[in-house]
Protein backbone atom coordinates (compact mmCIF):
# COMPACT_ATOMS: atom_id res chain seq x y z
CA UNK A 1 0.00 0.00 0.00
CA UNK A 2 1.51 3.25 -1.06
CA UNK A 3 1.53 6.13 1.42
CA UNK A 4 -1.04 8.17 -0.49
CA UNK A 5 -3.35 5.21 -1.11
CA UNK A 6 -6.58 5.25 0.85
CA UNK A 7 -9.38 2.73 0.59
CA UNK A 8 -12.96 3.97 0.41
CA UNK A 9 -15.44 1.12 0.14
CA UNK A 10 -18.11 2.95 -1.82
CA UNK A 11 -15.75 4.00 -4.60
CA UNK A 12 -15.82 1.66 -7.61
CA UNK A 13 -12.23 0.43 -7.35
CA UNK A 14 -9.69 -0.18 -4.59
CA UNK A 15 -6.25 1.43 -5.11
CA UNK A 16 -4.03 -0.76 -7.33
CA UNK A 17 -1.29 -1.98 -4.98
CA UNK A 18 -3.79 -2.47 -2.15
CA UNK A 19 -6.07 -4.52 -4.43
CA UNK A 20 -3.14 -6.78 -5.40
CA UNK A 21 -2.17 -7.23 -1.75
CA UNK A 22 -5.77 -8.04 -0.85
CA UNK A 23 -5.98 -10.67 -3.56
CA UNK A 24 -2.95 -12.34 -1.96
CA UNK A 25 -4.56 -12.21 1.51
CA UNK A 26 -7.80 -13.70 0.15
CA UNK A 27 -5.83 -16.50 -1.54
CA UNK A 28 -4.07 -17.28 1.77
CA UNK A 29 -7.42 -17.27 3.62
CA UNK A 30 -9.02 -19.60 1.07
CA UNK A 31 -6.03 -21.97 1.29
CA UNK A 32 -6.23 -21.94 5.10
CA UNK A 33 -9.96 -22.54 5.00
CA UNK A 34 -9.48 -25.49 2.62
CA UNK A 35 -6.88 -27.02 4.92
CA UNK A 36 -9.16 -26.71 7.96
CA UNK A 37 -12.07 -28.28 6.04
CA UNK A 38 -9.95 -31.29 5.06
CA UNK A 39 -8.35 -31.68 8.51
CA UNK A 40 -11.61 -31.42 10.45
CA UNK A 41 -13.62 -33.65 8.09
CA UNK A 42 -10.80 -36.17 7.87
CA UNK A 43 -10.19 -36.47 11.61
CA UNK A 44 -13.55 -37.71 12.81
CA UNK A 45 -13.86 -40.91 14.80
CA UNK A 46 -14.95 -43.79 12.58
CA UNK A 47 -18.71 -44.10 12.27
CA UNK A 48 -20.44 -47.32 13.24
CA UNK A 49 -21.52 -49.71 10.52
CA UNK A 50 -25.16 -49.39 11.39
CA UNK A 51 -28.02 -48.58 9.06
CA UNK A 52 -31.40 -46.90 9.05
CA UNK A 53 -33.47 -47.66 5.99
CA UNK A 54 -35.00 -44.20 6.01
CA UNK A 55 -37.79 -43.86 3.45
CA UNK A 56 -37.72 -47.58 2.64
CA UNK A 57 -40.72 -49.57 3.76
CA UNK A 58 -40.45 -53.19 4.91
CA UNK A 59 -43.14 -55.63 6.06
CA UNK A 60 -42.43 -58.11 8.87
CA UNK A 61 -44.56 -60.91 10.32
CA UNK A 62 -44.35 -62.23 13.84
CA UNK A 63 -45.68 -62.24 17.38
CA UNK A 64 -45.61 -59.06 19.40
CA UNK A 65 -44.75 -59.11 23.08
CA UNK A 66 -44.55 -56.14 25.42
CA UNK A 67 -42.62 -58.06 28.05
CA UNK A 68 -40.01 -57.20 28.97
CA UNK A 69 -40.00 -54.56 26.20
CA UNK A 70 -42.02 -54.03 22.99
CA UNK A 71 -40.58 -56.48 20.44
CA UNK A 72 -41.54 -58.51 17.44
CA UNK A 73 -40.60 -62.16 17.83
CA UNK A 74 -39.83 -63.67 14.47
CA UNK A 75 -39.10 -67.29 13.79
CA UNK A 76 -35.78 -67.64 12.01
CA UNK A 77 -35.73 -71.46 11.80
CA UNK A 78 -35.64 -74.58 13.95
CA UNK A 79 -32.84 -76.16 15.92
CA UNK A 80 -31.66 -79.77 15.77
CA UNK A 81 -34.39 -80.75 18.21
CA UNK A 82 -36.99 -79.20 15.96
CA UNK A 83 -37.67 -76.33 18.34
CA UNK A 84 -38.27 -72.82 17.03
CA UNK A 85 -35.28 -70.48 16.89
CA UNK A 86 -36.44 -66.92 17.33
CA UNK A 87 -35.09 -63.43 17.11
CA UNK A 88 -36.43 -60.40 18.95
CA UNK A 89 -36.70 -57.23 16.94
CA UNK A 90 -37.15 -54.19 19.15
CA UNK A 91 -40.16 -52.11 18.19
CA UNK A 92 -40.03 -48.34 18.35
CA UNK A 93 -42.48 -45.68 17.29
CA UNK A 94 -41.94 -42.77 14.91
CA UNK A 95 -39.79 -40.00 16.42
CA UNK A 96 -38.58 -40.29 19.98
CA UNK A 97 -41.36 -42.47 21.37
CA UNK A 98 -41.98 -46.06 22.30
CA UNK A 99 -44.29 -48.52 20.60
CA UNK A 100 -46.17 -49.90 23.63
CA UNK A 101 -49.20 -47.63 23.26
CA UNK A 102 -49.89 -48.86 19.71
CA UNK A 103 -50.17 -52.46 20.90
CA UNK A 104 -52.17 -51.65 24.04
CA UNK A 105 -54.78 -50.29 21.62
CA UNK A 106 -54.67 -53.47 19.53
CA UNK A 107 -55.05 -55.59 22.65
CA UNK A 108 -58.16 -53.61 23.65
CA UNK A 109 -59.67 -53.75 20.16
CA UNK A 110 -59.02 -57.44 19.52
CA UNK A 111 -59.92 -58.63 23.01
CA UNK A 112 -57.10 -61.18 22.84
CA UNK A 113 -53.64 -61.27 24.40
CA UNK A 114 -51.00 -60.03 21.97
CA UNK A 115 -49.14 -63.35 22.00
CA UNK A 116 -52.24 -65.04 20.59
CA UNK A 117 -52.02 -62.92 17.45
CA UNK A 118 -49.73 -62.90 14.45
CA UNK A 119 -48.98 -59.40 13.25
CA UNK A 120 -48.02 -57.97 9.90
CA UNK A 121 -46.16 -54.73 10.53
CA UNK A 122 -44.86 -52.13 8.13
CA UNK A 123 -42.00 -49.78 8.89
CA UNK A 124 -38.32 -49.06 8.47
CA UNK A 125 -35.48 -51.33 9.52
CA UNK A 126 -32.67 -50.12 11.75
CA UNK A 127 -29.80 -52.54 12.18
CA UNK A 128 -26.15 -53.03 13.02
CA UNK A 129 -23.81 -54.84 15.42
CA UNK A 130 -26.02 -57.92 15.25
CA UNK A 131 -29.22 -56.25 16.44
CA UNK A 132 -32.37 -55.21 14.63
CA UNK A 133 -34.82 -52.45 15.57
CA UNK A 134 -38.02 -51.76 13.64
CA UNK A 135 -39.51 -48.28 13.43
CA UNK A 136 -43.29 -48.19 13.08
CA UNK A 137 -42.99 -45.16 10.84
CA UNK A 138 -46.73 -44.75 10.24
CA UNK A 139 -47.49 -45.25 13.96
CA UNK A 140 -50.93 -46.94 14.41
CA UNK A 141 -51.24 -47.40 10.63
CA UNK A 142 -48.03 -49.45 10.72
CA UNK A 143 -50.07 -52.37 12.06
CA UNK A 144 -51.28 -53.68 8.70
CA UNK A 145 -52.97 -56.80 9.98
CA UNK A 146 -53.26 -59.23 12.88
CA UNK A 147 -54.80 -62.68 12.86
CA UNK A 148 -55.27 -65.29 15.58
CA UNK A 149 -52.39 -67.77 15.69
CA UNK A 150 -53.23 -71.25 14.36
CA UNK A 151 -50.44 -72.80 16.37
CA UNK A 152 -49.46 -71.98 19.93
CA UNK A 153 -47.08 -69.12 20.49
CA UNK A 154 -43.51 -70.30 20.01
CA UNK A 155 -41.89 -70.15 23.40
CA UNK A 156 -38.83 -67.96 23.89
CA UNK A 157 -35.94 -69.58 25.70
CA UNK A 158 -35.13 -67.79 28.96
CA UNK A 159 -31.86 -68.56 30.68
CA UNK A 160 -31.24 -67.13 34.16
CA UNK A 161 -27.66 -65.83 34.49
CA UNK A 162 -27.94 -64.71 38.10
CA UNK A 163 -27.10 -61.44 39.85
CA UNK A 164 -24.66 -59.38 37.81
CA UNK A 165 -22.91 -56.07 38.21
CA UNK A 166 -22.40 -54.41 34.87
CA UNK A 167 -20.37 -51.36 33.90
CA UNK A 168 -21.39 -49.59 30.74
CA UNK A 169 -23.32 -46.77 29.13
CA UNK A 170 -27.07 -46.47 28.78
CA UNK A 171 -28.10 -45.74 25.19
CA UNK A 172 -31.33 -45.55 23.28
CA UNK A 173 -31.34 -48.42 20.78
CA UNK A 174 -33.15 -46.55 18.02
CA UNK A 175 -30.36 -44.03 17.56
CA UNK A 176 -27.47 -46.30 18.52
CA UNK A 177 -28.29 -49.01 16.00
CA UNK A 178 -28.51 -46.68 13.03
CA UNK A 179 -30.65 -43.56 13.16
CA UNK A 180 -27.88 -41.33 14.45
CA UNK A 181 -24.13 -41.43 14.16
CA UNK A 182 -22.74 -41.23 16.71
CA UNK A 183 -25.69 -42.55 18.73
CA UNK A 184 -23.88 -42.64 22.07
CA UNK A 185 -21.73 -40.50 24.35
CA UNK A 186 -22.09 -36.93 25.51
CA UNK A 187 -22.95 -35.36 22.17
CA UNK A 188 -25.91 -37.72 21.85
CA UNK A 189 -26.90 -37.64 25.51
CA UNK A 190 -29.83 -35.19 25.31
CA UNK A 191 -31.33 -37.18 22.45
CA UNK A 192 -30.99 -40.45 24.39
CA UNK A 193 -32.74 -38.81 27.37
CA UNK A 194 -35.63 -37.74 25.11
CA UNK A 195 -35.89 -41.16 23.45
CA UNK A 196 -35.86 -43.17 26.70
CA UNK A 197 -38.20 -40.83 28.55
CA UNK A 198 -40.45 -41.03 25.48
CA UNK A 199 -40.84 -44.78 25.95
CA UNK A 200 -38.01 -46.33 23.92
CA UNK A 201 -36.50 -49.15 25.98
CA UNK A 202 -33.10 -48.32 27.48
CA UNK A 203 -30.21 -50.54 26.51
CA UNK A 204 -26.86 -50.81 28.24
CA UNK A 205 -23.81 -51.23 26.03
CA UNK A 206 -20.75 -52.74 27.65
CA UNK A 207 -17.40 -53.98 26.42
CA UNK A 208 -15.26 -56.76 27.76
CA UNK A 209 -11.47 -56.72 27.91
CA UNK A 210 -11.24 -57.91 24.31
CA UNK A 211 -13.36 -55.03 23.13
CA UNK A 212 -16.37 -57.25 22.36
CA UNK A 213 -19.64 -55.43 22.93
CA UNK A 214 -22.72 -56.75 24.66
CA UNK A 215 -26.13 -55.11 24.52
CA UNK A 216 -28.36 -55.52 27.54
CA UNK A 217 -32.00 -54.51 27.73
CA UNK A 218 -32.76 -52.76 31.03
CA UNK A 219 -36.07 -53.46 32.70
CA UNK A 220 -37.64 -52.60 36.03
CA UNK A 221 -40.79 -53.45 37.97
CA UNK A 222 -42.43 -50.20 36.97
CA UNK A 223 -40.93 -49.59 33.55
CA UNK A 224 -42.71 -46.31 32.85
CA UNK A 225 -41.50 -44.53 36.01
CA UNK A 226 -38.08 -46.15 35.94
CA UNK A 227 -37.55 -45.29 32.27
CA UNK A 228 -38.03 -41.63 33.02
CA UNK A 229 -35.60 -41.81 35.93
CA UNK A 230 -33.01 -43.92 34.16
CA UNK A 231 -33.15 -41.69 31.06
CA UNK A 232 -31.31 -39.02 33.06
CA UNK A 233 -28.38 -41.43 33.40
CA UNK A 234 -27.98 -41.99 29.65
CA UNK A 235 -24.65 -41.23 28.07
CA UNK A 236 -22.59 -41.64 31.24
CA UNK A 237 -20.39 -44.54 32.32
CA UNK A 238 -21.99 -46.25 35.30
CA UNK A 239 -22.37 -49.55 37.12
CA UNK A 240 -25.74 -51.21 37.55
CA UNK A 241 -26.65 -54.36 39.49
CA UNK A 242 -29.54 -56.65 38.71
CA UNK A 243 -30.84 -60.03 37.64
CA UNK A 244 -29.44 -60.99 34.25
CA UNK A 245 -31.39 -63.20 31.86
CA UNK A 246 -30.71 -64.48 28.38
CA UNK A 247 -33.82 -64.04 26.19
CA UNK A 248 -33.28 -65.47 22.70
CA UNK A 249 -30.67 -63.14 21.13
CA UNK A 250 -30.88 -60.46 23.87
CA UNK A 251 -29.58 -60.13 27.40
CA UNK A 252 -32.00 -58.55 29.87
CA UNK A 253 -30.99 -56.97 33.16
CA UNK A 254 -33.81 -56.47 35.63
CA UNK A 255 -33.03 -53.86 38.30
CA UNK A 256 -35.15 -52.68 41.20
CA UNK A 257 -36.08 -49.24 42.49
CA UNK A 258 -33.51 -49.34 45.30
CA UNK A 259 -30.81 -50.04 42.72
CA UNK A 260 -31.99 -47.08 40.67
CA UNK A 261 -31.72 -44.82 43.70
CA UNK A 262 -28.15 -46.06 44.24
CA UNK A 263 -27.24 -45.41 40.59
CA UNK A 264 -28.59 -41.89 40.79
CA UNK A 265 -26.16 -41.20 43.62
CA UNK A 266 -23.14 -42.69 41.85
CA UNK A 267 -20.25 -40.36 41.25
CA UNK A 268 -19.72 -40.24 37.53
CA UNK A 269 -16.06 -40.25 36.69
CA UNK A 270 -14.48 -38.60 33.70
CA UNK A 271 -13.13 -41.00 31.15
CA UNK A 272 -13.98 -42.92 28.04
CA UNK A 273 -17.71 -43.36 27.73
CA UNK A 274 -17.43 -46.90 26.51
CA UNK A 275 -16.01 -49.02 29.29
CA UNK A 276 -13.12 -51.42 29.21
CA UNK A 277 -14.60 -53.71 31.82
CA UNK A 278 -17.81 -55.62 31.78
CA UNK A 279 -19.17 -59.05 31.32
CA UNK A 280 -18.38 -61.84 28.97
CA UNK A 281 -21.20 -64.21 28.36
CA UNK A 282 -21.11 -67.02 25.88
CA UNK A 283 -24.31 -67.29 23.89
Amino acid sequence: MRKNEFYIGYLPKAPGTLARWLRGIIAVLLALLSLVAVFVAGNQQPFAETYFEYGKSTQLKGVVSLTPVPRLIVKTGVDLKGQAVTKSILLVNFGKSGAAEIFHNVEKTSGRPLTALEFTLQGSLIYGEGKVVFELTDQHASVLDYVPLNQPYYPVKMNDLGEQSIYGEIIDPKCYFGVMKPGFGKVHRSCAIRCISGGISPVMVTKNENGDKQFILLTADNSATSSHKISKLAGKPLTINGQLTQMDDWLVLHYNEQELAKIQHQKFVAGPLLPHQGITICN
Binding site: F6, S34, Q44, T50, M180
Partner: protein, 345 residues
Protein backbone atom coordinates in the same frame (compact mmCIF):
# COMPACT_ATOMS: atom_id res chain seq x y z
CA UNK B 1 -38.21 5.18 15.73
CA UNK B 2 -36.58 8.40 14.65
CA UNK B 3 -34.84 7.01 11.59
CA UNK B 4 -36.25 5.47 8.44
CA UNK B 5 -35.13 2.19 6.95
CA UNK B 6 -33.23 2.38 3.70
CA UNK B 7 -32.15 -0.70 1.76
CA UNK B 8 -28.49 -1.70 1.67
CA UNK B 9 -26.68 0.07 -1.15
CA UNK B 10 -24.90 -2.55 -3.20
CA UNK B 11 -21.79 -1.01 -4.64
CA UNK B 12 -19.06 -2.83 -6.57
CA UNK B 13 -16.78 -3.35 -3.56
CA UNK B 14 -19.61 -4.84 -1.50
CA UNK B 15 -20.55 -7.19 -4.33
CA UNK B 16 -16.93 -8.39 -4.61
CA UNK B 17 -16.74 -8.82 -0.82
CA UNK B 18 -19.95 -10.87 -0.74
CA UNK B 19 -18.90 -12.97 -3.72
CA UNK B 20 -15.67 -13.87 -1.92
CA UNK B 21 -17.71 -14.83 1.19
CA UNK B 22 -20.00 -17.05 -0.90
CA UNK B 23 -17.04 -18.64 -2.68
CA UNK B 24 -15.32 -19.36 0.66
CA UNK B 25 -18.50 -20.91 2.13
CA UNK B 26 -19.04 -23.04 -0.97
CA UNK B 27 -15.40 -24.16 -1.05
CA UNK B 28 -15.37 -25.14 2.63
CA UNK B 29 -18.63 -27.09 2.48
CA UNK B 30 -17.62 -28.85 -0.72
CA UNK B 31 -14.22 -29.90 0.65
CA UNK B 32 -15.73 -30.98 3.98
CA UNK B 33 -18.40 -33.10 2.29
CA UNK B 34 -15.98 -34.70 -0.18
CA UNK B 35 -13.39 -35.47 2.52
CA UNK B 36 -15.97 -36.86 4.95
CA UNK B 37 -17.60 -38.98 2.24
CA UNK B 38 -14.20 -40.38 1.25
CA UNK B 39 -12.66 -40.89 4.71
CA UNK B 40 -15.78 -41.44 6.85
CA UNK B 41 -18.18 -43.32 4.58
CA UNK B 42 -20.64 -44.15 7.39
CA UNK B 43 -21.44 -40.51 8.20
CA UNK B 44 -25.13 -39.57 8.00
CA UNK B 45 -26.35 -36.52 6.10
CA UNK B 46 -27.52 -34.81 9.30
CA UNK B 47 -24.20 -35.30 11.10
CA UNK B 48 -22.42 -34.02 8.00
CA UNK B 49 -24.51 -30.83 7.94
CA UNK B 50 -24.14 -30.27 11.70
CA UNK B 51 -20.37 -30.73 11.68
CA UNK B 52 -19.66 -28.91 8.41
CA UNK B 53 -21.70 -25.84 9.35
CA UNK B 54 -20.54 -25.84 12.98
CA UNK B 55 -16.86 -25.92 12.07
CA UNK B 56 -17.33 -23.38 9.26
CA UNK B 57 -19.18 -20.93 11.53
CA UNK B 58 -16.40 -21.22 14.13
CA UNK B 59 -13.77 -20.56 11.47
CA UNK B 60 -15.70 -17.54 10.16
CA UNK B 61 -16.01 -16.23 13.72
CA UNK B 62 -12.22 -16.37 14.05
CA UNK B 63 -11.81 -14.40 10.81
CA UNK B 64 -14.38 -11.82 11.95
CA UNK B 65 -12.69 -11.35 15.32
CA UNK B 66 -9.27 -11.04 13.66
CA UNK B 67 -10.23 -8.18 11.35
CA UNK B 68 -10.49 -5.48 14.06
CA UNK B 69 -7.04 -5.91 15.62
CA UNK B 70 -5.42 -6.61 12.23
CA UNK B 71 -6.67 -3.23 11.01
CA UNK B 72 -5.21 -1.59 14.10
CA UNK B 73 -1.87 -3.23 13.41
CA UNK B 74 -1.83 -2.75 9.63
CA UNK B 75 -4.07 -0.37 7.69
CA UNK B 76 -3.92 -2.59 4.60
CA UNK B 77 -6.52 -4.86 6.27
CA UNK B 78 -9.10 -2.03 6.36
CA UNK B 79 -10.95 -3.23 3.23
CA UNK B 80 -11.80 -6.43 5.13
CA UNK B 81 -13.49 -4.29 7.76
CA UNK B 82 -15.59 -2.30 5.28
CA UNK B 83 -18.20 -5.03 4.83
CA UNK B 84 -17.53 -7.04 7.99
CA UNK B 85 -21.23 -6.95 8.87
CA UNK B 86 -22.06 -9.03 5.79
CA UNK B 87 -19.46 -11.55 6.94
CA UNK B 88 -21.09 -11.53 10.39
CA UNK B 89 -24.58 -12.09 9.01
CA UNK B 90 -23.27 -14.90 6.77
CA UNK B 91 -21.62 -16.50 9.82
CA UNK B 92 -24.93 -16.26 11.71
CA UNK B 93 -26.79 -17.96 8.85
CA UNK B 94 -24.26 -20.84 8.83
CA UNK B 95 -24.36 -21.08 12.65
CA UNK B 96 -28.18 -21.02 12.55
CA UNK B 97 -28.21 -23.97 10.12
CA UNK B 98 -25.96 -25.82 12.59
CA UNK B 99 -28.23 -24.87 15.50
CA UNK B 100 -31.54 -25.66 13.79
CA UNK B 101 -30.28 -29.04 12.53
CA UNK B 102 -28.94 -29.90 16.00
CA UNK B 103 -32.21 -28.98 17.72
CA UNK B 104 -34.21 -30.94 15.13
CA UNK B 105 -31.86 -33.93 15.33
CA UNK B 106 -31.46 -34.20 19.09
CA UNK B 107 -34.60 -32.58 20.50
CA UNK B 108 -37.51 -32.72 18.06
CA UNK B 109 -40.26 -35.39 17.89
CA UNK B 110 -39.96 -36.01 21.61
CA UNK B 111 -42.29 -35.64 24.56
CA UNK B 112 -41.40 -31.99 25.30
CA UNK B 113 -40.98 -28.82 23.27
CA UNK B 114 -37.59 -28.98 21.47
CA UNK B 115 -36.44 -25.64 22.88
CA UNK B 116 -37.39 -26.72 26.40
CA UNK B 117 -35.54 -29.97 25.74
CA UNK B 118 -32.30 -28.09 24.95
CA UNK B 119 -32.23 -26.80 28.52
CA UNK B 120 -34.09 -29.53 30.38
CA UNK B 121 -32.87 -32.86 28.94
CA UNK B 122 -29.42 -32.88 30.44
CA UNK B 123 -29.61 -31.10 33.79
CA UNK B 124 -26.04 -31.65 35.02
CA UNK B 125 -25.35 -27.93 35.28
CA UNK B 126 -23.25 -28.54 38.38
CA UNK B 127 -20.74 -30.77 36.59
CA UNK B 128 -18.13 -29.52 34.14
CA UNK B 129 -17.60 -32.99 32.71
CA UNK B 130 -21.30 -33.61 32.09
CA UNK B 131 -22.32 -30.00 31.48
CA UNK B 132 -25.13 -29.58 28.90
CA UNK B 133 -22.91 -28.03 26.25
CA UNK B 134 -25.75 -27.47 23.78
CA UNK B 135 -27.13 -24.70 26.01
CA UNK B 136 -23.87 -22.76 25.55
CA UNK B 137 -24.20 -23.00 21.78
CA UNK B 138 -27.83 -21.91 22.00
CA UNK B 139 -26.91 -18.81 24.03
CA UNK B 140 -24.05 -17.99 21.65
CA UNK B 141 -26.39 -18.32 18.68
CA UNK B 142 -28.92 -16.03 20.39
CA UNK B 143 -26.24 -13.33 20.66
CA UNK B 144 -25.32 -13.82 16.99
CA UNK B 145 -29.01 -13.48 16.12
CA UNK B 146 -29.30 -10.18 18.01
CA UNK B 147 -26.19 -8.91 16.26
CA UNK B 148 -27.33 -10.03 12.80
CA UNK B 149 -30.84 -8.65 13.33
CA UNK B 150 -29.49 -5.23 14.33
CA UNK B 151 -26.63 -5.12 11.84
CA UNK B 152 -28.32 -2.66 9.47
CA UNK B 153 -27.57 1.07 9.86
CA UNK B 154 -31.29 1.54 10.61
CA UNK B 155 -30.69 -0.09 14.00
CA UNK B 156 -27.38 1.68 14.47
CA UNK B 157 -29.16 5.01 14.04
CA UNK B 158 -32.13 4.10 16.23
CA UNK B 159 -30.25 2.41 19.04
CA UNK B 160 -27.43 4.95 19.00
CA UNK B 161 -23.76 4.15 18.31
CA UNK B 162 -22.87 3.58 21.98
CA UNK B 163 -25.64 1.07 22.70
CA UNK B 164 -25.22 -0.56 19.29
CA UNK B 165 -21.48 -0.93 19.80
CA UNK B 166 -22.01 -2.39 23.30
CA UNK B 167 -24.50 -4.88 21.89
CA UNK B 168 -22.07 -5.87 19.16
CA UNK B 169 -19.18 -6.18 21.61
CA UNK B 170 -21.21 -9.10 23.01
CA UNK B 171 -19.52 -11.06 20.22
CA UNK B 172 -16.70 -11.71 22.70
CA UNK B 173 -19.15 -13.25 25.19
CA UNK B 174 -20.53 -15.35 22.34
CA UNK B 175 -16.98 -16.39 21.37
CA UNK B 176 -16.33 -17.59 24.93
CA UNK B 177 -19.62 -19.50 24.96
CA UNK B 178 -18.87 -21.11 21.61
CA UNK B 179 -15.34 -22.15 22.64
CA UNK B 180 -16.81 -23.83 25.75
CA UNK B 181 -19.61 -25.35 23.62
CA UNK B 182 -17.01 -26.99 21.40
CA UNK B 183 -14.67 -27.98 24.24
CA UNK B 184 -17.43 -29.58 26.34
CA UNK B 185 -19.11 -31.09 23.30
CA UNK B 186 -17.32 -32.56 20.34
CA UNK B 187 -13.78 -32.20 21.75
CA UNK B 188 -14.78 -34.07 24.93
CA UNK B 189 -16.62 -36.74 22.94
CA UNK B 190 -14.01 -37.22 20.24
CA UNK B 191 -10.66 -36.22 21.71
CA UNK B 192 -8.47 -35.44 18.71
CA UNK B 193 -5.05 -33.79 18.65
CA UNK B 194 -5.98 -31.98 15.44
CA UNK B 195 -9.21 -30.56 16.90
CA UNK B 196 -7.61 -29.47 20.17
CA UNK B 197 -4.62 -27.96 18.31
CA UNK B 198 -6.84 -26.05 15.88
CA UNK B 199 -9.08 -24.76 18.66
CA UNK B 200 -6.11 -23.83 20.89
CA UNK B 201 -4.30 -22.13 18.00
CA UNK B 202 -7.46 -20.19 17.14
CA UNK B 203 -7.92 -19.02 20.72
CA UNK B 204 -4.26 -18.02 21.06
CA UNK B 205 -4.40 -16.20 17.70
CA UNK B 206 -7.47 -14.19 18.69
CA UNK B 207 -6.29 -13.34 22.21
CA UNK B 208 -2.70 -12.66 21.04
CA UNK B 209 -3.84 -10.33 18.25
CA UNK B 210 -6.10 -8.39 20.61
CA UNK B 211 -3.35 -8.05 23.22
CA UNK B 212 -0.81 -6.95 20.60
CA UNK B 213 -3.16 -4.35 19.12
CA UNK B 214 -4.20 -3.27 22.62
CA UNK B 215 -0.62 -2.74 23.81
CA UNK B 216 0.22 -0.84 20.64
CA UNK B 217 -2.77 1.42 21.09
CA UNK B 218 -2.18 1.90 24.83
CA UNK B 219 1.38 3.05 24.13
CA UNK B 220 0.10 5.60 21.62
CA UNK B 221 -2.73 6.70 23.90
CA UNK B 222 -0.63 8.06 26.76
CA UNK B 223 -2.19 11.29 27.89
CA UNK B 224 0.01 14.39 27.61
CA UNK B 225 0.25 17.06 30.29
CA UNK B 226 -1.00 20.60 29.84
CA UNK B 227 1.33 23.56 29.52
CA UNK B 228 0.94 26.79 31.47
CA UNK B 229 -1.69 28.10 29.04
CA UNK B 230 -3.70 24.92 29.41
CA UNK B 231 -2.70 23.63 25.94
CA UNK B 232 -1.32 20.23 24.99
CA UNK B 233 1.69 19.85 22.76
CA UNK B 234 0.61 17.66 19.86
CA UNK B 235 4.03 17.55 18.19
CA UNK B 236 6.07 19.01 15.36
CA UNK B 237 4.21 20.22 12.29
CA UNK B 238 6.38 17.97 10.13
CA UNK B 239 4.98 14.91 11.90
CA UNK B 240 1.50 15.54 10.48
CA UNK B 241 1.17 14.25 6.90
CA UNK B 242 -0.55 16.39 4.30
CA UNK B 243 -4.26 15.44 4.16
CA UNK B 244 -3.68 13.19 7.16
CA UNK B 245 -3.72 13.47 10.94
CA UNK B 246 -2.03 12.68 14.22
CA UNK B 247 -4.02 11.88 17.34
CA UNK B 248 -3.59 13.03 20.89
CA UNK B 249 -5.39 11.98 24.06
CA UNK B 250 -6.86 14.75 26.18
CA UNK B 251 -9.20 14.31 29.15
CA UNK B 252 -9.50 10.64 28.24
CA UNK B 253 -10.79 11.48 24.73
CA UNK B 254 -8.87 11.01 21.50
CA UNK B 255 -8.62 14.06 19.23
CA UNK B 256 -7.44 14.04 15.62
CA UNK B 257 -5.45 17.02 14.31
CA UNK B 258 -5.63 17.23 10.51
CA UNK B 259 -3.34 19.09 8.11
CA UNK B 260 -4.84 20.16 4.80
CA UNK B 261 -4.60 23.06 2.31
CA UNK B 262 -2.07 24.89 4.49
CA UNK B 263 -4.32 24.65 7.55
CA UNK B 264 -4.68 22.67 10.77
CA UNK B 265 -8.01 21.66 12.34
CA UNK B 266 -8.89 19.34 15.17
CA UNK B 267 -12.01 17.23 15.63
CA UNK B 268 -13.03 14.30 17.83
CA UNK B 269 -11.37 11.08 16.70
CA UNK B 270 -14.61 9.12 17.06
CA UNK B 271 -16.78 8.68 13.97
CA UNK B 272 -20.51 8.99 14.63
CA UNK B 273 -21.25 5.96 12.47
CA UNK B 274 -19.51 3.13 14.30
CA UNK B 275 -16.93 4.88 16.47
CA UNK B 276 -14.33 4.49 13.71
CA UNK B 277 -10.92 6.20 14.23
CA UNK B 278 -11.16 9.40 12.15
CA UNK B 279 -7.51 10.19 12.84
CA UNK B 280 -6.53 7.16 10.76
CA UNK B 281 -8.56 8.56 7.90
CA UNK B 282 -7.67 11.05 5.23
CA UNK B 283 -8.90 14.33 3.80
CA UNK B 284 -10.70 13.46 0.57
CA UNK B 285 -12.50 16.16 -1.44
CA UNK B 286 -11.95 18.54 1.46
CA UNK B 287 -13.57 16.23 4.00
CA UNK B 288 -12.14 14.09 6.79
CA UNK B 289 -12.99 10.56 5.60
CA UNK B 290 -13.37 7.72 8.08
CA UNK B 291 -11.16 4.73 7.21
CA UNK B 292 -13.86 2.24 8.22
CA UNK B 293 -16.87 3.09 6.07
CA UNK B 294 -16.00 6.39 4.42
CA UNK B 295 -18.25 8.69 6.53
CA UNK B 296 -17.16 12.30 6.00
CA UNK B 297 -16.86 15.46 8.12
CA UNK B 298 -15.70 18.98 7.31
CA UNK B 299 -12.51 19.56 9.30
CA UNK B 300 -13.28 23.16 10.41
CA UNK B 301 -16.77 22.47 11.86
CA UNK B 302 -17.04 18.69 12.32
CA UNK B 303 -20.26 18.54 10.25
CA UNK B 304 -20.95 15.92 7.59
CA UNK B 305 -21.51 17.57 4.20
CA UNK B 306 -25.21 17.91 3.26
CA UNK B 307 -27.48 15.99 3.02
CA UNK B 308 -25.84 14.07 5.87
CA UNK B 309 -26.38 15.29 9.42
CA UNK B 310 -23.66 13.68 11.57
CA UNK B 311 -21.59 16.06 13.71
CA UNK B 312 -18.54 15.67 15.91
CA UNK B 313 -16.88 17.95 18.48
CA UNK B 314 -14.28 20.48 17.33
CA UNK B 315 -11.17 21.89 19.06
CA UNK B 316 -8.89 24.90 18.77
CA UNK B 317 -5.43 24.35 17.31
CA UNK B 318 -2.44 26.64 17.76
CA UNK B 319 0.72 26.62 15.65
CA UNK B 320 3.85 28.21 17.15
CA UNK B 321 7.28 27.90 15.59
CA UNK B 322 6.55 24.59 13.89
CA UNK B 323 5.02 23.20 17.09
CA UNK B 324 1.35 22.23 17.11
CA UNK B 325 -0.71 22.75 20.26
CA UNK B 326 -4.29 21.76 21.07
CA UNK B 327 -6.74 23.36 23.46
CA UNK B 328 -8.29 20.33 25.21
CA UNK B 329 -11.64 22.04 25.69
CA UNK B 330 -14.12 20.57 23.19
CA UNK B 331 -16.66 22.74 21.44
CA UNK B 332 -20.20 21.45 20.97
CA UNK B 333 -20.56 19.11 18.01
CA UNK B 334 -20.66 20.98 14.72
CA UNK B 335 -19.15 24.24 16.07
CA UNK B 336 -17.11 26.11 13.46
CA UNK B 337 -13.55 26.88 14.61
CA UNK B 338 -10.99 28.82 12.65
CA UNK B 339 -8.17 26.55 11.49
CA UNK B 340 -4.57 27.36 12.40
CA UNK B 341 -2.87 28.69 9.30
CA UNK B 342 0.45 27.25 8.20
CA UNK B 343 2.62 30.07 6.91
CA UNK B 344 4.57 29.15 3.81
CA UNK B 345 8.29 30.03 4.04
Amino acid sequence: MGHRYTAVLWNRQKKIYDLVILLAIFLYLLLFILTARFLSPGITGETMVIRATGSLALLMLHVILSIGPLCRLNRRFLPLLYNRRHLGVSMFVIAAIHGVFSVLQFHSLGNVNPLVSVFASNQDYDSLHNFPFQTLGFLGLTIFFLMAATSHDFWLANLGPRFWKTLHMMVYVAYGLIIMHVMLGIVQSEPSVILVTLLGAGFLWISGLHLWAGFKEAAADREKSLDRRGYVLVGELGQIPENGAVTVVVNGEKVAVFRYDGKLSAISNVCKHQNGPLGEGKIVDGCVTCPWHGYQYLPHNGCSPPPFTEKVATYDVLLEEEKVYLNPKPYPEGTTRNPAIIRQN
